[in-house]
């Protein structure tokens, strides 16, 4: 195995590990968005998310402003991780093509 192929393989391995880490981290983060429903003049926070192609709502309970902010941060972090995980997968595909290319060149 040449130097370049070894470096590419090492990076591919790292990206596979990174993908798993992103997926594991996303499991612990909420999915969807927060929506407030007004019932009898009072606002109640709900988590809106897709379940089997349909929009579902889950009541979040009485949350303080800080808890609500933390929950919103969790959603934002999940969205960020989803985007980065997609980048990781894209880089993996590119590296696989590069490894095949190096082999053919040899």
């Amino acid at each position: 195995m040449g130097s370049i192929e070894a470096v590419l393989r090492e990076e591919l391995q790292r990206l596979r590990v990174a993908e798993k880490s992103y997926q594991r981290a996303m499991k612990g983060l909420p999915k969807g968005s927060i929506q407030h429903k007004r019932i009898k003049g009072r606002q109640y926070p709900y988590l809106a998310f897709r379940k089997a192609g349909k929009v579902a709502y889950r009541y979040l309970g009485r949350l303080s402003q800080d808890d609500l902010k933390a929950f919103r941060n969790g959603i934002e972090q999940r969205v960020r991780y989803e985007r980065l995980c997609a980048e990781v997968r894209k880089s993996q595909r590119r590296l696989q093509r590069m490894i095949r290319g190096t082999r053919r060149a040899i």
Binding site: M1, S3, A6, E11, R14, L15, A18, S21, L84, V88
Partner: protein, 232 residues
């Protein structure tokens, strides 16, 4: 993998660490140093353009750490995700462009477990010979960020010495290439050569003997300086 995107992630990380007062307690080691040596050198082509996707941060010692900073949270805000190694309890931080690792010098009998750094909420992997880098810091400023990297001569000697401990052929080759390129630079600059002789003068004899064996095969010019020190 793209150079600019990768460097932007590293620069963003360095800026965050500097803003939070963490960077002054860390030293950037590994192949990224070549980038900063190259940027500080007026001559083009003195250092190879080889870099790795790992950004290795050395924690020379924990004495100066006074402030409590949640480094994992800072990294997660930048999009990094923790990856756990259960066997050693070590944690690294992955990003599509970069992996961040924290390292600490392994002293005495050593330990297979990672070293906890409570003030920074991180775990650092202990590795041999890192004290060689920690003892010879060099300050560089790049795009407004001041960071510590090892002196080029310490970097070269460290790369040479660890190349002898590598089992993987590709990594060993990469270490040797980096060591030889920086040694060429050291021998071309009197100030760097004086620094390297000072370092050699302070190294334990066991390390010098290891270096002598490696230099004989890979960089014979260096053996003269090592043997002179060994004779004393």
């Amino acid at each position: 993998m793209e150079r600019d995107a990768q460097f932007d992630v590293l620069l963003g990380l360095l800026q965050t660490f500097e803003r939070e007062g963490v960077l002054q307690h860390l030293m950037l080691i590994g192949s990224w140093c070549l980038f900063f040596y190259r940027s500080a050198s007026p001559k083009v082509g003195e250092f190879p353009a080889v870099r790795t996707l790992d950004a290795d941060f050395l924690i020379p010692h924990q004495r100066g750490l006074a402030r409590d900073v949640d480094v994992p949270s800072l990294l997660q805000e930048l999009g990094f995700v923790p990856t756990f190694y259960r066997s050693s309890q070590w944690v690294v931080y992955d990003h599509p462009e970069l992996r961040v690792e924290f390292l600490a010098p392994e002293l005495g009998r050593g330990s297979s477990e990672a070293q906890t750094v409570p003030k920074l909420h991180i775990k650092a992997q202990r590795l041999r010979y890192l004290q060689l880098l920690a003892d010879y810091p060099k300050r560089v400023t790049y795009q407004g960020v001041t960071l510590r990297i090892p002196e080029p001569s310490a970097f070269a000697l460290h790369k040479l010495i660890v190349s002898g401990r590598r089992t993987g052929g590709a990594k060993r080759r990469k270490d040797l290439e980096a060591a030889i390129a920086v040694l060429d630079y050291v021998y071309a600059h009197p100030r760097e050569l004086t620094m390297m002789r000072t370092i050699l003068h302070r190294l334990p004899k066991g390390w010098l003997k290891t270096l002598d064996g490696l230099a004989t095969t890979h960089y014979p010019v260096l053996t003269g300086d090592i043997r002179e020190r060994l004779r004393r």
